[in-house]
């Protein structure tokens, strides 16, 4: 049994997401801090997050909410830290806002991001209809783990007002500049659609709303969780 924790920032509906994981045979627990364990509250104290993390195979950062409040929710408890939770290489899937949180900062709020990937998050240009809502096709740059079995040109569903901006020159000494696994084009604007770096997987689109292609990615993520 694969057990995944879905972090609830308290901002909205995560029913579809929980459901999409359970449909693929996983158990999904909604957590509001990194000390939470299956079936009840966790310990307190400085080991709480690492201790709680042992009960889960993966973490999901969902795509509903606002950057500032969501980052505050994730960093609220000084005794149960995100970094301790994922410190042993727990697979993390960030969807939309969840993916944006991987970067250093966002124009959506002054709160710093998780900073696990180089780059920042900017508003979509005002030449576009914002929020951008609809189906777009993926241009796959490198297959990675999340996109296994997904065809180049596959359609996925986006709802967003912000986009990741990767540094033009990758920082020295790492694969961090090469995190983009797929892009999507809105007329002449190209946006990073999927990213992967170490145990962090992210999608700007919503796999849980992307039909059979999205189901494939959910299965791929659960596969990564089981490894």
């Amino acid at each position: 049994m694969t057990r995944v924790a879905i972090f609830d920032y308290g901002a909205g509906n995560i029913f579809s997401l929980k459901n999409s994981l359970e449909r693929e045979g996983a158990t999904a627990d909604v957590i509001r801090d990194f000390a939470a364990r299956p079936g009840g509250d966790g310990n307190s104290g400085s080991d709480a997050a690492a201790d709680a993390a042992r009960h889960y195979d993966g973490l999901l950062l969902p795509g509903v909410g606002n950057f500032g409040p969501a980052m505050k929710a994730v960093t609220r408890d000084p005794d149960s830290k995100f970094s301790d939770y994922v410190g042993h290489g727990m697979p993390v899937l960030g969807i939309c806002l969840g993916m944006e949180m991987f970067f250093a900062r966002s124009q959506e709020g002054s709160e710093p991001g998780l900073g696990v990937m180089s780059g920042d998050v900017a508003s979509l240009p005002d030449t576009m209809k914002v929020p951008h809502m609809g189906w777009n096709s993926l241009q796959i740059r490198r297959r990675g783990r999340l996109l296994e079995g997904v065809e180049d040109g596959a359609w996925v569903y986006f709802v967003h007002s912000y986009m990741a901006r990767l540094p033009a020159t990758p920082p020295p000494g790492g694969a961090a500049g090469d995190v983009v696994t797929a892009e999507s084009s809105y007329n002449d604007i190209v946006i990073p659609a999927a990213v992967e770096y170490r145990n962090y997987l992210g999608t700007q689109f919503h796999p849980e709303k992307s039909g059979p292609v999205g189901r494939q990615m959910i299965r791929n993520f659960l596969g990564v969780c089981r490894r």
Binding site: F15, S16, K129, H132, M133, S137, Y157, V159, E208, K209
Partner: protein, 256 residues
């Protein structure tokens, strides 16, 4: 490539959960549920329906019909819908659009507009005088917003209302031509183009689709972002994928 999103409206047609599953499996891009029930136990019924649908499909869906309070909107969204459609409730209380945007985000707020050509004297139901237009035979008319399922004229101009709804926080406009609804004569291009040009948020055209070619026509003629159809799917004249193949052959980018 935003175009090619297609909607299926489900209005009192059999078991909605089974129908939703079928449309989703056949390749519909999005579902819209309107006027789902008017019973006394509305809220509970809606909650059960939305949960039922959310657990069998994995495409976005909108639920509307009788939404007039924040509690109605929350009930729909927390049960698993992606967006709430609001029509009469927004005309009667425009600030609710802003409240909904503030709490749920603009992307969740779909303002539904039922518009009908009015050849009478321009009224001013708020928001200034209407945009006066001429039909093919030179008769002057304007597009009037109707509420309560089309029963009540409001005196409000549909083009102005769409722009105002965007300013208040709408994320999307679901635009129904009452003149075309149920006729199978094709979408109202004049209405659709006027509203598309007036706003910078996505617009969904609705009313009048009798053939897949009507969808291709409204995309080509108006720049609208999505087209909604109901009866051509309900009665299985064309499956969703059949419609999408026809659109693809007409050069409309679609997910197949």
């Amino acid at each position: 490539m935003v175009k090619g999103t297609r909607f299926v409206e489900i209005r009192d047609a059999g078991d909605p959960v089974a129908l939703a599953k079928r449309y989703s499996d056949e390749g519909a891009d999005e579902l819209v549920f309107l006027d789902i029930t008017a019973s006394d136990e509305r809220r509970k019924t809606i909650r059960e329906l939305v949960r039922g649908v959310a657990s069998v499909i994995d495409i976005p869906f909108t639920v509307g019909g009788g939404v007039s309070t924040m509690e109605d909107a929350r009930n729909i969204l927390l049960s698993g819908a992606d967006k709430v459609g609001i029509n009469t409730g927004a005309i009667n209380n425009p600030p609710i659009i802003t409240e909904m945007m503030g709490l749920f985000g603009r992307q969740c707020v779909v303002v539904a507009i039922d518009a009908k050509r009015n050849y009478g004297e321009p009224a001013d139901g708020g928001g200034g005088p209407p945009v006066m237009l001429e039909d093919d035979s030179g008769r002057r008319f304007w597009f009037e917003v109707h509420t309560y399922g089309g029963k009540k004229g409001t005196g409000v101009d549909a083009i102005r209302w769409a722009r105002r709804a965007q300013g208040l926080g709408a994320g999307e406009i679901l635009l129904t031509s009452m003149d075309r609804d149920g006729t199978k004569d094709g979408y109202d291009h004049e209405l659709t183009r006027r509203v598309v040009d007036a706003v910078s948020i996505p617009v969904i055209a609705s009313g009048g689709c009798g053939h897949p070619g009507d969808m291709a026509d409204v995309f080509g003629a108006t720049g609208v972002d999505a087209a909604l159809a109901a009866s051509i799917f309900h009665y299985q004249e064309y499956g969703v994928s059949g419609v999408k193949r026809i659109l693809r052959d007409r050069g409309v980018p679609v997910r197949l």
